[in-house]
């Protein structure tokens, strides 16, 4: 466990020692701020209209009509940000030869993979942390519920975890970070839009809806923690990490 944390810690530090962490967090903060202002503006306009037509502000719900669409937008940002976080994890170690240090140390391949996963997840969590600042403002002026917010963030972490595990796997396949980024992005996007085809072909609709990473997030953003979705995400992550460890192992055999 100690060496797993050592690797996680080293990963996190190396993100902050390079421009990656700052760029990822900076770009995220900017775009998220833009989304926030846009969604907030829309929400305010709508509630004013509601007031005029006598519906009363009562029917407007901050959680349902502001935070939920906002977090849906955040998932799109994540789609672009996460490949940048994972692209170098293994690629860089291979390029610089430090992989030889890791693989000849008294730790298992799986411990290395877990360490790297936790490191990337920590940076991702820091990135998500930025988005909480804006939400804090809502708590100052309004009265949103915090429980659905909490489940939404749990959902975001699990959702991002899936992408990180896939990204780790892809970065074991290449020394080239650009290749790593593009391939990871491609796979993410595919998992995203997989339902587009499924909805037109009834026989596979159930399957593709189940496979779509984003559909499982819906319930979390509504404030529901359904074990089916938790299990889906956790098995997705486990499978990704398993593939990563196997890929590292097969690299050893191929030399």
């Amino acid at each position: 466990m100690r060496n797993v944390l050592a690797i996680a810690n080293k990963e996190l530090r190396s993100y902050f020692a390079s421009p990656i962490a700052y760029i990822v967090i900076g770009v995220f903060a900017l775009l998220y701020g833009w989304f926030f202002v846009a969604v907030l503006g829309f929400f305010v306009r709508q509630s004013m209209q509601m007031g005029q037509f006598g519906g009363g502000a009562q029917s407007m719900n901050v959680n349902q009509q502001l935070i939920r669409p906002l977090l849906q937008n955040v998932t799109i940002l994540i789609l672009f940000m996460l490949p940048a976080i994972t692209m170098r994890t293994y690629s860089e170690e291979k390029r610089s030869g430090t992989i030889e240090l890791l693989l000849t140390s008294p730790i298992t391949d799986f411990q290395i993979v877990i360490g790297k996963f936790l490191g990337a997840l920590a940076l991702y969590a820091v990135m998500l942390g930025v988005s909480l600042i804006h939400l804090a403002i809502l708590f100052v002026y309004g009265r949103p519920e915090w429980k659905p917010l909490l489940t939404a963030y749990v959902g975001l972490l699990l959702f991002g975890g899936c992408f990180i595990s896939v990204g780790l796997f892809i970065s074991t396949l290449t020394k080239n970070q650009v290749v790593s980024f593009m391939a990871t992005f491609g796979v993410f996007l595919f998992l995203w839009v997989i339902t587009w085809i499924g909805s037109t072909v009834p026989s596979i609709e159930g399957l593709v809806t189940y496979l779509s990473v984003i559909d499982h997030f819906d319930d979390f953003s509504k404030g529901v923690i359904d074990t089916a979705h938790v299990i889906y995400y956790l098995s997705f992550i486990t499978f990704g990490l398993f593939l990563t460890a196997k890929s590292v192992d097969s690299e050893r055999w191929r030399g």
Partner: protein, 322 residues
């Protein structure tokens, strides 16, 4: 301490290492000598558990590297060809990280980091980023990380490659110092290094071991006949004939002629010291004797003769696998 049995590694159709067999005793420095691409790095990577072998067995510090990799790795320090440094860490941070990887406890770790920095003389560079180090220091930090967990076995892949002559000498000294506590395998393609640092040499070529012996024995064994170099002060037409008549001498050839000085190479039977007879013959003939010395076969020549195909000298004493 290290035992390698019938080690074979194939990459697809290419065989990198074939049926390699050798042993290293505790405290010994074993030199791994061979041209580039001979299979040195592959063998070392198998020993460190970086990659598995296709066939065969490797036992390091009593643990099989395939069956008990964690135990074997805990007792092995490895310096790859390029020191595995993280550019964004300082030397201290890096060594501390490696200490954690190797499973050292916090209190012990701090003390070990200081000790290895002291030993490899990098204390001055403690707070410098690894990316800002010179080649010589990078190599030393690499050595420091290899010994941080005080391993029984040290495996060094070309530890002096790319260093300047002064650094090479320092690194060799350092390796010699370390040999007291550690069993060391080092690879090189620089020949003098082997004769200066190693107790024993394994010569490997095209993935096969062609000779295992001490540097001295290798030199001696490969000398099928003794050759003396003799220089006299003037050209004497009958000199080859006079020298050739001496007991034990098999052949006399003129090797060089310069400023009135003539050099001869005198070959004699093995184990027959003809130096006294040669000197006496020169003096009694009234020639001036300027030089008389045995011509040793240098390691370079041995190396070439062993790694060039089918040299009879290599098989003479039953060198393994030759």
């Amino acid at each position: 301490m290290i035992e390698v049995q019938h080690l074979t590694k194939r990459y697809g159709r290419v065989t990198a290492v074939e049926d390699v067999d050798f042993k290293v005793e505790r405290g010994e420095i074993l030199g791994f000598l061979g041209p580039n691409g001979a299979g040195k790095t592959t063998t070392m990577r198998i020993l460190t558990g970086f990659m598995p072998a296709t066939e065969g067995k490797a036992i390091v510090a009593g643990f099989d590297v395939f069956d008990q990799p964690i135990e074997a790795k805990r007792r092995t320090g490895y310096l790859p060809e390029t020191p595995p440094l993280y550019p964004d860490m300082t030397v201290v941070e890096y060594l501390d990280f490696v200490g954690k990887l190797k499973g050292l406890l916090p209190a012990d770790r701090r003390q070990r980091v200081r000790a290895v920095m002291d030993r490899t003389r990098i204390t001055d560079m403690a707070d410098r980023l690894c990316s800002k180090l010179s080649k010589g220091y990078r190599q030393r930090v690499g050595l420091a990380q290899a010994i941080i967990h005080n391993p029984d076995v040290l495996i060094l892949d070309e530890p002096t490659a790319g260093l300047d002559p002064k650094q090479i000498i320092e690194t060799r000294e350092l390796i010699k110092e370390l040999s007291g506590d550690h069993t060391i395998i080092l690879s090189t393609h620089i020949l003098p290094e082997v004769s200066q640092t190693c107790d024993r040499v394994v010569i490997i070529n095209k993935g096969r071991v062609v000779a295992v012996d001490t540097p001295e024995n290798l030199t001696a064994r490969l000398r099928g006949s003794e050759t003396m170099y003799l220089q006299v002060d003037a050209a004497h037409a009958d000199a080859p004939a006079v020298l050739g008549r001496l007991p034990g001498v098999t052949r006399v050839t003129e090797s060089d002629r310069r400023d009135g000085l003539v050099g001869y190479e005198v070959e004699s039977e093995k184990g027959h010291d003809v130096r006294r007879d040669l000197a006496r013959a020169v003096v009694t003939s009234g020639w001036g004797l300027l030089e008389l010395r045995p011509m040793r076969m240098s390691l370079e020549e041995i190396f070439l003769s062993l790694t060039t195909d089918e040299t009879p000298t290599a098989t003479e004493d039953g060198a393994p696998n030759a």
